[in-house]
Amino acid sequence: MHMADALLSPTVGAAMWAVSAGGVALCSARLCRERDDRLAPLMGVLGGFLFAAQMINFSIPGTGSSGHLTGGLLLAILLGPSAALLTVASVLMIQAFFFADGGLLALGCNIFNLGIVPALLVYPLCYRRLIGTAPGRLRETVVTFVSALLAMQLGALSVVLETAASGISALPLDKFLLLMQPIHLAIGLVEGAVTLAVVSFLRKARPELLARQSGPSATSTRLTLAGCLICALLIAGGLSRFASVKPDGLEWSVAKLTGATSLPEHRAGLPALLTALQHKTARFPEYQIAPAAAPGQAPAAASTAPQGMAVAGKGSGVAGAVGTVITVLLVAGAALILRRSGRAAVAPEA
């Protein structure tokens, strides 16, 4: 469920970075105030635990597939929301830097989807509200499953919304939703089962670990947290809507182009589509038109502006491809030269 850089527009990426950075800063400040210095090493090693646990699979009976723990909710149950968010965020950061899961710009999205949603949204607003002080077995089961499902569904929903708002993928919003939500229903069930199993194991083995967190929690901090989150969501939502205007226009223009087949329409439609691509070639029309028009038509100067645009449009595909190949060769050559000179510089030392 990791979001990827390649599917993000900078607006959405920056908005989600701002939201996640705000969340991390808020939780850091809260932990600083609490001054529980046992927590620092505990969070560190639990992050390591989460990192490793995410790579151990178990087989799901009857399906032939396997699942694993995602862990946001489990950590929130064990550590409380603030510490859980920091732990999940740190694991995501390791994954972004070392395994490039997601990416650096998408880190904000990933911290939101996998950290803020379960730890700051689902845990305080759903899990803690419903579970009460001394839950029975049935109640605990139901609440854990509901919370895990909710966390997964919300996370998947925000992946879809972020992708749609960025407009890099042409996947329609409804189809993407229909693809993601059922898959994450299954993943949410798995997550709920694992979380419940681990929590009940801990309850049997060392109940005092769980008792630590189920003490009374301040309502005011919870309220402020919820308020901050709603603000953040509103900001993100507003920014996304602002960002989604442009791709919609582009898709619309593509749809319009497919319907139009005649050449004059083609001429009118292409410049609108290849805005940036063509912009550059149209700015230097002499590169394109003068040599191309010379063999065909003697009066090259007679070519009017729209004709010039059309020629540039037709040629831009070829020019782009040729330019791409040449640039790749140039980059590779530069890298080779740099490397060779590096070796030459090392050789006398060795």
Binding site: A4, I94, L105, L209, T324, T327
Partner: protein, 270 residues
């Protein structure tokens, strides 16, 4: 998901690369972080149908990999491994977006394929840049750089703790996972029951380790913060590095270098 041991090996290899001694390794981490951020923002700010304009951006990771003497093949393999989500979403583009966008002679390329290729190129660029940054800098220096750029100290401490104990815990988890595999027959014995007790025991051991660590830290005079030596300074070299790459990225963002070059060449040929 990869095996725990495989992931650990990967992590150690990148960590070892960061110990290199080239001038790029010695550069202040903040300069590299900033330049990489500018690069990534420039790359992702292109529209979905732009492909040729993205190609010149390969100069940044290529130069860093070459000058930092990093193993290019290894990094390329890692990039190929981590692309699946972006590719999985991107591969839908050709099916939903069939408008003809490019004419390569007689060949007509639909907008979906162009945007799919653009997504793949973006993935390659951003992932390579991130991995190159890690391989040139190392995780702890990146954390220190981020703190000096404004990251909360509590979070930085969490990151450093995690990074220190990640190896220990992952080894332990890897051993437990291997033991379970040896004792199970195919898929039998890998169900939820054994998985939950495996994770539970791992969690208990983790917790006990944390308690021991806390006591050891207290015994050594831990007061809630780490003392970190302030090393590295943002000198003229760093400034030059950031300015050069930022300027280059912005120029490449504004002018489509590949397109200009191509039209120049095709213009002379025809």
């Amino acid at each position: 998901m990869a095996s725990v041991h495989g992931a650990l090996l990967d992590l150690k290899r990148l960590d070892l690369l960061a110990r290199g001694g080239t001038s790029l390794h010695r550069l202040d981490p903040r300069a590299k972080v900033l330049a990489t951020l500018v690069f990534i923002v420039c790359v992702v700010s292109f529209g979905p149908y732009q492909l040729s304009a993205l190609i010149p951006f390969f100069i940044f990771p290529a130069c860093l990999i070459a000058a930092g003497r990093l193993p290019a093949g290894y990094l390329a393999g890692k990039v190929a491994l981590v692309a699946p989500f972006a590719v999985a979403v991107g591969i839908c583009n050709p099916f939903f977006d069939r408008g003809i966008l490019l004419h390569l002679g007689p060949l007509e390329v639909s907008g979906g394929w162009v945007s799919f290729a653009s997504i793949v190129v973006r993935t390659a660029l951003t992932v390579t840049a991130a991995l190159t940054l890690t391989a040139l800098t190392g995780f702890a220096p990146i954390c220190r750089a981020l703190v000096r750029l404004g990251m909360p100290k509590t979070f930085a401490m969490q990151l450093l703790f995690l990074y220190r104990y990640l190896f220990v815990l992952a080894e332990e988890a890897g051993r437990a996972s291997r033991a379970r595999e040896l004792r199970s027959f195919g898929r039998k014995g890998k169900g939820l029951a054994s998985y939950a007790s495996l994770l539970g025991h791992l969690l208990l051991r983790t917790w006990q380790r944390a308690e021991r660590m806390h006591m050891a830290m207290l015994a050594r005079g831990y007061t809630g913060t780490f003392l970190a030596a302030e090393c590295g300074r943002f000198g003229a070299r760093e400034l030059l590095f950031v300015l050069f790459w930022s300027a280059l990225c912005i120029i490449m963002r504004l002018y489509n270098g590949a397109e200009l070059l191509g039209s120049l060449v095709t213009g002379y040929l025809s």
